[in-house]
């Protein structure tokens, strides 16, 4: 699996670099750098919106939510996303119409101009900053723990975080918003493909969708209705989450910006409808992964379930793709958030395009590469530093079983136990040699 991971990971990084170089132009305007010249088409538009919207939560949170709280998770996210795509058209039309007369550099600046007062702009900027920095930090922290666990002992966690932030900064600095949009398109595609490969494996391990749901009914029938076994999906909870999710295009600057930078209203319309279909496709797959987990790993921890369902129960190439997909999901959401904070800051600044551009990005070789004057980097550095203040059992930190760990085998009888003799062995090699029989259910699954 490690070999596949290195191959696929390298291809992914190369694709990001290609996107970045393709987007690079020497004499570009501020709008070209920060807003891709307001010229994003519908296909790239839907992929960048989806990649910025669907974070690692879709990859890990949703399957686990279906596994532990049942099918109400569909109402929680998919129905809310359906409402959201309608709002994109409704709200999108009005904001774009206004932008034509006022101009657009970022939501904070837009609000300041609209109300002719600084307070709304500052309020939006502060709330966006307070919301997005911890959000981005969680993801940076998540990926660094994930890589630290995968390549055990190779590098400390903080080094992985530095590398990840470094990659994000470099390709955003070279290519600007257009590079981020292209990389989002790559990441959105990877995410959709990987999640369906895993979903299909989960269905096939039971033979059919019917057998999968029949098994869930025998194990825990409460999962098939609301409010679910833990009583999470009450009407109050679902209404509150519906309102919050539907308003995302208006409340999260990285997504508002994507609504504004689409080429024209026709492209926005196509983007909105395609996004609805994209959301259905991607969430539907997580239903199957979650139901699979409900039968195979009903009592496992989140980390145990994810490690097994996404990695160990898959063919090694799919497992490696899953890791790349997870990295892609975290990366695309995080860079969209961080770049949006830079855009918001820029929209509050005054001065010529050249001055603002110089202050919101790393200068091209004029000596401020590591200069503290680059204010937009504050958000990146803030997120980076904040990631080390978070102390939580990350859902992406999967428990790799130590060689000879009998407790792991007790919990997951369907999984082989690594038995490496080499001290540098990560255990993955042994698992590679023993194909996992995912059709084998836990011994007590009928007791339900």
């Amino acid at each position: 699996m490690i070999t596949w991971l290195i191959i696929l990971g390298s291809l992914f990084i190369l694709a990001l670099l290609a996107a970045s170089v393709k987007s690079y132009k020497k004499k570009r305007t501020l709008d070209e750098y920060m807003l891709a010249g307001f010229n994003i088409g519908p296909i790239i538009g839907v992929l960048t919106f989806a990649a910025a919207l669907f974070s690692a939560f879709i990859f890990m949170g949703m399957p686990d939510m279906f596994r532990t709280d049942g099918v109400g998770a569909w109402i929680f996210l998919a129905v809310s996303d359906g409402g959201m795509v309608f709002l994109i058209i409704w709200f999108g039309y009005h904001i774009r119409k206004k932008v034509k007369t006022t101009g657009f550099r970022g939501v904070s600046g837009f609000l300041t101009g609209l109300y002719e007062h600084k307070l709304p702009g500052y309020l939006f900027f502060i709330t966006a900053f307070l919301f997005l920095v911890p959000y981005a930090a969680i993801q940076i922290r998540g990926i660094s723990i994930f890589f630290s666990a995968t390549f055990e002992g190779a590098l400390p966690e903080w080094s992985w975080a530095v590398i990840i932030v470094g990659i994000m900064l470099i390709y955003a600095e070279i290519g600007g918003f257009r590079a981020i949009v292209f990389s989002d398109a790559i990441q959105g595609t990877v995410l959709l493909v990987v999640i369906w490969l895993i979903g299909i494996t989960c269905i096939r391990s039971f033979g059919s969708v019917e057998s999968l749901f029949s098994a869930v009914e025998r194990v825990k029938p409460e999962l098939l209705s609301v409010p679910g076994p833990n009583g999470l999906f009450t009407v109050q909870f679902l209404i509150a989450s519906f309102i919050a999710i539907v308003l995302i295009p208006a409340t999260q600057p990285q997504l508002t910006t994507r609504v504004v930078v689409i080429r024209n209203f026709r492209s926005l319309s196509r983007m909105a409808v395609s996004l609805g279909i994209f959301a259905i496709l991607i969430i539907l797959s997580t239903v199957f992964i979650g139901m699979y987990g409900a039968v195979m790993y009903p009592d496992a921890t989140t980390a145990d379930f994810l490690a097994s369902a996404l990695l160990f129960d898959q063919k090694e190439i799919v497992g490696a793709l899953a890791m790349v997909g997870l990295f892609a999901a975290c990366l695309s959401t995080t860079n969209a958030q961080i770049f949006a904070l830079g855009t918001e800051l820029r929209s509050m600044m005054k001065g010529s395009d050249r001055t603002v551009l110089r202050n919101t990005r790393i200068d091209d070789g004029s000596g401020s590469v590591f200069g503290c004057a680059d204010k937009a980097k504050t958000s990146t550095i803030g997120a980076f530093l904040f990631s080390f203040r978070i102390d939580y059992p990350s859902p992406v930190a999967f428990p790799y079983p130590a060689p000879g760990d009998r407790s792991f085998q007790d919990r997951f009888p369907a999984l082989p136990l690594p038995c490496c003799r080499n001290s540098r062995c990560t255990g993955l090699e042994e698992i590679d040699k023993k194909p996992v029989d995912v059709r084998r259910l836990p011994d007590d699954w009928q007791a339900g």
């Binding site: 099918v71 109402i75 998919a78 409402g83 795509v85 679902l238 209404i239 519906f242």
Partner: protein, 74 residues
């Protein structure tokens, strides 16, 4: 023509609001009930899937008759 489109668009907004309200009634999320199933999908899942598809359909119709359609074509 534009006024007619505007009226239809407002009807679609109403349809989306009604759809949103219906979602939180026992018609879509009956407590503790997963029958009848459709294509082996439990009740709340297939009704939720239909609601989501209807939202996308309403959005698509809205894009076709939107009063601002073609305004900023370049």
């Amino acid at each position: 023509m534009k006024t007619q489109r505007k009226s239809i668009f407002w009807i679609l907004i109403l349809a989306a609001l009604i759809l949103g309200c219906i979602t939180f009634t026992p018609l879509v999320i009956p407590y503790g009930k997963h029958e009848p199933a459709l294509f082996h999908f439990p009740y709340t899942l297939w009704t939720g899937l239909i609601v989501t598809l209807l939202f996308v359909l309403v959005t698509w119709i809205a894009t076709c008759i939107h009063p601002g359609k073609g305004e900023d074509e370049s």
